[in-house]
Amino acid sequence: MSEHIIPTRTYYLIWISLMCLTVITAAVAFVDLGQFNTIVALSIATLKALLVVLFFMHLKYTNEKMSKVAVISALFWLVLLLALSLTDYGWRGAGAV
């Protein structure tokens, strides 16, 4: 089991980073970047999720195989959700049943 102790300072820094990224997401939404608005928002969201998983959920400090299996399964399921939903959204114009 991982017994790595993370200093409180790290937690505060990550929390402040998350808050800053939230403000940036909101601010960027008011700038018209065309379709890049979505890309920027999703990229920031991914970065935030990564910070949470690595530091708050201790994935950075674990060598447990099971933790990695859990993360990979979660990502795989997300891919399933997106990929199969896209069979609908990608082909909407091709007609409905």
Binding site: A74, L81, L84, S85, T87, D88, W91, G93, A94, V97
Partner: protein, 544 residues
């Protein structure tokens, strides 16, 4: 919940401590299972009450018992209560909580306090939902479809959504507890291929709970945000997409059907070998079929949306995948049947329910294939055919399995034997009542009666009367076990440790079990379902 003094000289989990706080602050998985048993039984009767009102309204073609608006609330609250507050927690939270640690030779679940927390979350969600019911109710269907739920309904959608959201966390915590327990706390010698199939099915169920429930939670939160703050997520007038809600909702809610049925399959996999006195046929196939159902079950959700306007390409893919998920279920049915072949079968109550399960689940599953076929689905979508289909799975399958399990393990849970004659009678009544209620609905749907209407054309009346009559028979069948289980807690014959001469570890400790389940940690040196080397139970010997 009052404790039952059974053998005052021996201490067990029921008589170790007394008083309300010993129950409300317990971390014993067996006591938490009983807390769940009382709570879900309460919600079962609330949901059942709504069902009876629905059937009473449909006794006559005219909408004469309740107003249309009230009827919308009745079927919504029937569905939400039964699914979120009874079926999903039923077997995992009651029998799973009680049995998972015992079956693998552990003293408790991995996180006993989280286990208690999950019950409290369930109760908080239940209280919020009860408040919703008592202060006006909700009418959007159990599916919360947008934009009705996010914009147009003027009932208590937010409250119901919050209740289901909180309840989801109870489910996630139970799933997490089971996964960690099964990985980490197996007794020496309890290898993965010696695990009882009940454990395999609970493992598969837990995976679904962990990976699916968060999606439902966030989706309902988005509905609440759209409704409360006007965010444009699902509302097309604000740039949203209503079908996005259906994709996200069914990504959880189709696998949720497997949360209901997989644990039931686990029960049947325990009951069939025991009452056939045979090792289960194809152990590894049945075990891996559970995992296959959990995985493939996530790939079929959009078959609920064939007529919703999604792309033809998606419909073809989801139709194909929906056929695929029938394969592991069929493997299980064939293997249970093969287990019985040349077995020494006895017709005890749990086995009667198991027979009921196999027959009714097969009918429910096969009619599911009708619905996976695009052409037939267009014809029967939103008709009573669909209602009959999923009740054959959820009631004919899941509830039958739950009752099989309750009867099978009641001697272990309570230390008493229930009256066998009454048990068999109740099983028969449930089977007859169930078929009388739901078989006519297949016909009704096929000839065109739509679901979710409080009045209907004259030509549908005969079948509706049959269905309503069946529901009253079914109600009697469900009340009986509750009465004789309660009766047996005081007056039932004392059960010995292993009244069925079953092979599982849970039968190798006392009935009722001591607080830490086993006096010494068991060491497993035998395969699962080793019935060839077990003597017949006394009752079976007498019958033969």
């Amino acid at each position: 919940m009052s404790s039952v003094a059974i053998t005052p000289e021996r201490e067990h989990y029921l008589n170790k401590e007394y008083g309300i706080s010993s129950w409300l602050l317990t971390t014993d998985h067996k006591r938490i299972a009983l807390l769940y048993l009382v709570s879900i039984t309460f919600f079962f009767f609330i949901g059942g009450f709504f069902a009876l009102l629905i059937r009473l309204e449909l006794l006559t073609p005219a909408g004469d018992l309740v107003q249309a608006d009230t009827y919308n609330k009745l079927f919504t609250m029937h569905g939400q209560t039964m699914i979120f507050f009874f079926l999903i927690p039923s077997i995992p939270a009651v029998l799973g909580n009680f049995l998972v640690p015992m079956m693998i030779g552990a003293k408790d679940l991995a996180f006993p306090r989280i286990n208690l927390l999950s019950w409290y979350l369930y109760i908080i969600a239940g209280i919020i939902y009860l408040h919703c019911i008592l202060t006006g109710g909700v009418d959007v269907g159990w599916t919360f479809y947008t934009p009705l739920s996010s914009g147009f309904s003027n009932t208590k959608v937010i409250e119901a959504g919050v209740a289901v959201f909180i309840n989801g966390f109870s489910s996630i915590l139970t799933g997490l507890n089971f996964v960690v327990t099964i990985h980490r706390m197996r007794a020496p010698g309890m290898t993965w291929s010696r695990l009882p199939l009940f454990i395999w099915s609970h493992y598969a169920t837990s995976i679904i709970m962990l990976l699916g429930t968060p999606v439902l939670a966030i989706t309902l939160l988005l509905v609440v945000f759209e409704r409360a703050f006007g965010l444009g997520i699902f509302d097309p007038t604000r740039g949203g997409d209503p079908l996005l809600f259906q994709h996200l909702f069914w990504f959880y809610s189709h696998p949720a059907v497997y949360i209901m049925i997989l644990p039931s399959m686990g029960v049947i996999s325990e009951v069939v070998p025991c009452f056939s006195r045979k090792r289960i046929f194809g152990y590894h196939f049945v075990a891996l079929a559970s995992i296959a159902i959990a995985v493939i079950g996530f790939l079929v959700w959009a078959h609920h949306m064939f007529v919703a306007g999604m792309s033809l390409y998606a419909a073809l893919i989801f139709s194909l995948l929906s056929y695929l998920v029938a394969v592991p279920s069929a493997i299980k049915v064939f293997n249970w049947t093969a287990t019985m072949y040349k077995g020494s079968i006895s017709f005890s109550t749990p086995m009667l329910y198991a027979f009921g399960f196999i027959g009714l689940f097969t009918m429910g599953g096969l009619t599911g294939l009708f619905l996976a076929a695009l052409g037939i689905d267009v014809h029967v979508t939103d008709t009573y055919f669909v209602i009959a289909h999923f009740h054959y799975i959820m009631v004919g399958g899941a509830v039958m399995g739950y009752l099989a399990g309750m009867h099978f393990w009641w001697p272990k849970i309570s230390g008493r034997i229930y009256p066998e004659g009454w048990g068999r009678l109740a099983a028969l009544i449930v089977f007859i009542g169930f078929n009388l209620t739901f078989f006519p609905q297949f016909v009704l749907g096929y000839v065109g009666m739509p679901r979710r209407y409080w009045q209907y054309s004259q030509e549908f009346q005969v079948l509706n009367v049959l269905s309503t009559a069946g529901s009253t028979v079914l109600a009697v069948g469900y009340l009986l076990p509750m009465v004789y289980f309660l009766w047996s807690m005081r007056y039932g014959k004392l059960a010995d440790d292993n009244p069925w001469n079953a092979t599982g570890l849970e039968w190798r400790t006392a009935s009722p079990p001591p607080t830490y389940n086993f006096d010494e940690t068991p060491v497993v040196t035998w395969e699962a379902y080793d019935y060839e080397n077990m003597p017949l139970p006394q009752e079976v010997t007498l019958e033969r």
